[in-house]
């Protein structure tokens, strides 16, 4: 065993001791149970991306683990009835709430909630004879409540997909087609308008295609954090506040970032159009203005046609 490994082992053992000292000792968790869990968490979240992490960084990481939650989970895995009782009592509301928001309707939510407890308990047995519980995947890095919400959401998504595949009949396919038509119908007003207003034929021209290609390329060239913000705000239709929560920043910070991204994208698109497509600066600016004008009227018409414009616009306003 290398010196580094020994150093890490030692740090993990010390960290596990501190973790137990911080946690509620009512479940009498053995340090032998904590060390592998702490080590797994360390490998997954710290050492994989920072192999030469300092001793201090490792110690800090271990000290940031959720001691109480991890001990509760370890006690549940061990089969401690009081721990299970505590787990259900503390988190049944969280599980139900997460299931309700993920599943969409009350019945499906109830199904998901029941399933999750079974999953947590472990329906199958492992090689050592213990139930293969999902709790084994809890690292203690985030809160147990957050982890449970994530598990519930994933389960709801999986169940939804399975159900969708099972009941996919010809009738559903028809509905899908109808739905698709409805979605495609989003563009119907634009098409209709194009027919009505010949000027808007511009949107179908080559320059529009080139501009959107340049924009897509420019988005790809953004930093990951900025791309994520663009995706959350424009593609997932989140509000700025919500996007900020996902990114871990304040709404105002997200707003400033978005303004900066606009400037960067604009510059990048112009550069691509000028260098790669041979546009002049004047042409680029003119096309920007014209295309934006047409797209804006497209969007307005689209929202008016769908009758959802007023529901959406306040979200955009922020």
């Amino acid at each position: 065993m290398s010196e580094r490994s020994l150093q890490i082992e030692k740090l993990v053992a010390e960290g596990a001791q501190r973790l137990l000292a911080r946690a509620d000792d009512r479940y009498s968790i053995d340090i032998e149970a904590v060390v592998p869990r702490a080590r797994a968490s360390l490998d997954k979240y710290l050492l994989r991306d920072a192999q030469d992490a300092s001793a201090k960084a490792i110690a800090d990481f271990l000290d940031q683990l959720q001691a109480g939650d991890l001990c509760l989970v370890l006690a549940c895995e061990r089969g401690d009835p009081s721990a299970w009782s505590d787990l259900v009592e503390r988190y049944s509301t969280t599980v139900r709430s997460a299931a309700r928001s993920a599943a969409g309707n009350e019945d499906a939510a109830e199904d998901v909630a029941q399933s999750i407890w079974a999953e947590l308990h472990g329906l199958r047995l492992r090689e050592d004879g213990r139930p293969a519980s999902k709790l084994a995947y809890y690292s203690g890095r985030g809160s147990l409540a957050g982890w449970l919400r994530a598990v519930v959401t994933q389960l709801a998504v999986d169940q939804h997909r399975k159900q969708s595949r099972l009941v996919q009949t010809e009738e559903d396919a028809d509905f899908d087609r109808l739905a698709r038509d409805g979605v495609n119908g989003k563009e119907a007003p634009a098409t209709a308008r194009t027919t009505l207003n010949p000027e808007n034929a511009l949107s179908d021209k080559q320059e529009r295609v080139e501009m959107e290609k340049a924009l897509a390329r420019s988005i790809k060239e953004l930093a990951d954090e900025d791309r994520l913000l663009v995706k959350l705000y424009y593609f997932d239709d989140l509000r700025l506040r919500e996007a900020g929560v996902v990114l871990g920043v304040h709404e105002a910070t997200a707003s400033r970032r978005l303004a900066r991204i606009h400037v960067e994208l604009r510059r990048s698109v112009e550069n691509i159009l000028i260098k790669d497509c041979g546009w002049t600066k004047t042409e680029t600016e003119k096309s920007f203005a014209e295309l934006a004008l047409h797209l804006e009227s497209d969007i307005e018409l689209l929202l008016a046609a769908e009758g959802v414009a007023r529901d959406k616009s306040p979200r955009r306003a922020d």
Partner: protein
């Protein structure tokens, strides 16, 4: 312009997002092949990773790796969004560990002096500096013009300065004859106040001499001098006449010194005119040359201060000596205004020497405009020949 550009790019982004959503919805199979895999498999982030990301509980490098995944994986991104919003923790609190927190004073100072901040502060500072310099320059010019404007009137003061010296030679004559004990005390008091305020100038000598020579004006001005600057109590030769109570004594003094004054006046006028001819016209120069008349002034004061102090000296001494000349002046009343003849000029009795005057030449456009607006001034100007100083509606005009 920038806002318009931002709006354009925003509209383009929305258009692109809409197009991609429509394209994704048009596919019969949800999003991609990997979407068929259960979330939580190796293709996607597992529940622990998702929740840790949503709670911002990951080291930076790991978080960056997951961010790169979330950008391209709609499923994981949506779950993370749901979890983050459901968690609903204050963003700043959660991000405190990862965002750069400006905590120390040096960092705060550096942030304050950062180019981002200074880009607004610097133009403001430059603008402020330009305004300050402009104000200073304009003020200087204004002062210079005011000094130049007054140079003419102060030349008369310079004339009387020499006269006052002459008068100072016989203080006992006038002082003892014209005033009682109280008046003498008043004059001494006045002399004391004067010497206290302008200790460095020749006023001290001239003031004491003047006070002794003409204690007549001093008692009347004592009140004024005690509440305001004593220098202001001295008036030029054409200043309004002293209070009636002081008049008899002034006349007595005049009788005693008239001869001496008349003789010396002619001499001093000639000397003063000769000096004026040598000067550039600005009173500051006149004063600085006149000031050495007092032995204490020229050697002890810097030239700038001398220039400032000297006019008041001259005014003070002129005022004291002028008290005599005033008594000889004839008085005329025109258009409800009283004018005193002083040194060849008709001076409105309401005129205060501290007032700034506007010079108006007879026959000039300005003069025509003035008399058109104020016909009474025309009457005054026509009836009084030579230089006339008239106070009209709070403003003083020198018509010449």
């Amino acid at each position: 312009m920038k806002q318009a550009e931002n709006n354009e790019i925003e509209i383009l982004l929305r258009g692109l997002a809409q197009r991609e959503q429509a394209a994704a919805n048009a596919q019969s199979v949800p999003q991609s092949a990997k979407a068929d895999l259960p979330v939580g498999t190796s293709t996607h982030l597992d529940a622990d990773e998702l929740s840790a990301y949503a709670e911002n509980a990951l080291p930076l490098a790991t978080r960056a790796r997951y961010t790169a995944h979330l950008v391209d994986c709609d499923d994981c991104r949506k779950i993370v969004s749901q979890l983050s919003i459901a968690t609903g923790r204050p963003a700043e609190a959660r991000s405190a560990g990862h965002e750069t927190v400006v905590s120390t004073w040096s960092e705060k100072l550096a942030a304050l002096l950062s180019p981002r901040t200074l880009r607004y502060a610097m133009p403001a500072l430059v603008l402020f500096a330009v305004i300050a310099v402009g104000f200073f320059v304009l003020r200087q010019q204004k002062e210079a013009s005011l000094v130049a404007q007054r140079s003419a009137e102060n030349s008369h003061v310079a004339e009387t300065q020499a006269e006052s010296k002459q008068l100072a030679t016989s203080p006992a004559q006038s002082g003892t004859k014209t005033s009682g004990n109280e008046e003498q005390a008043g004059s001494q008091k006045h002399a004391k106040a004067t010497s206290e305020t302008d200790s460095k100038t020749s006023e001290r000598a001239a003031g004491s001499a003047g006070a002794a020579a003409s204690p007549t004006a001093a008692p009347a001005k004592d009140k004024e001098s005690s509440k305001n600057e004593p220098v202001a109590t001295a008036r030029p030769s054409y200043a309004p006449e002293p209070s009636p109570s002081a008049k008899p004594t002034t006349e007595t003094a005049r009788a005693e010194t008239a001869k001496v004054a008349d003789e010396s006046r002619e001499k001093e006028k000639a000397a003063a005119r000769k000096k004026e001819a040598d000067k550039t016209g600005a009173f500051a120069v006149t004063a600085s040359k006149d000031a050495p008349a007092s032995p204490q002034t020229g050697s002890t004061q810097p030239s700038a201060r001398k220039a400032k102090a000297a006019p008041s000296n001259a005014r003070l001494m002129g005022g004291v000596a002028g008290g005599r000349a005033d008594d000889q002046a004839e008085i005329r009343t025109i258009a409800g205004r009283r004018f005193r003849r002083q040194n060849g000029a008709w001076v409105d009795t309401a005129y205060d020497s501290s007032q700034s005057t506007t010079n108006v030449a007879r026959g000039s456009d300005q003069y025509r405009a003035l008399i058109a607006d104020e016909p009474d001034i025309r009457t005054i100007a026509e009836q009084l020949s030579g230089q006339v100083i008239v106070v009209w509606k709070g403003r003083a005009y020198r018509i010449h």
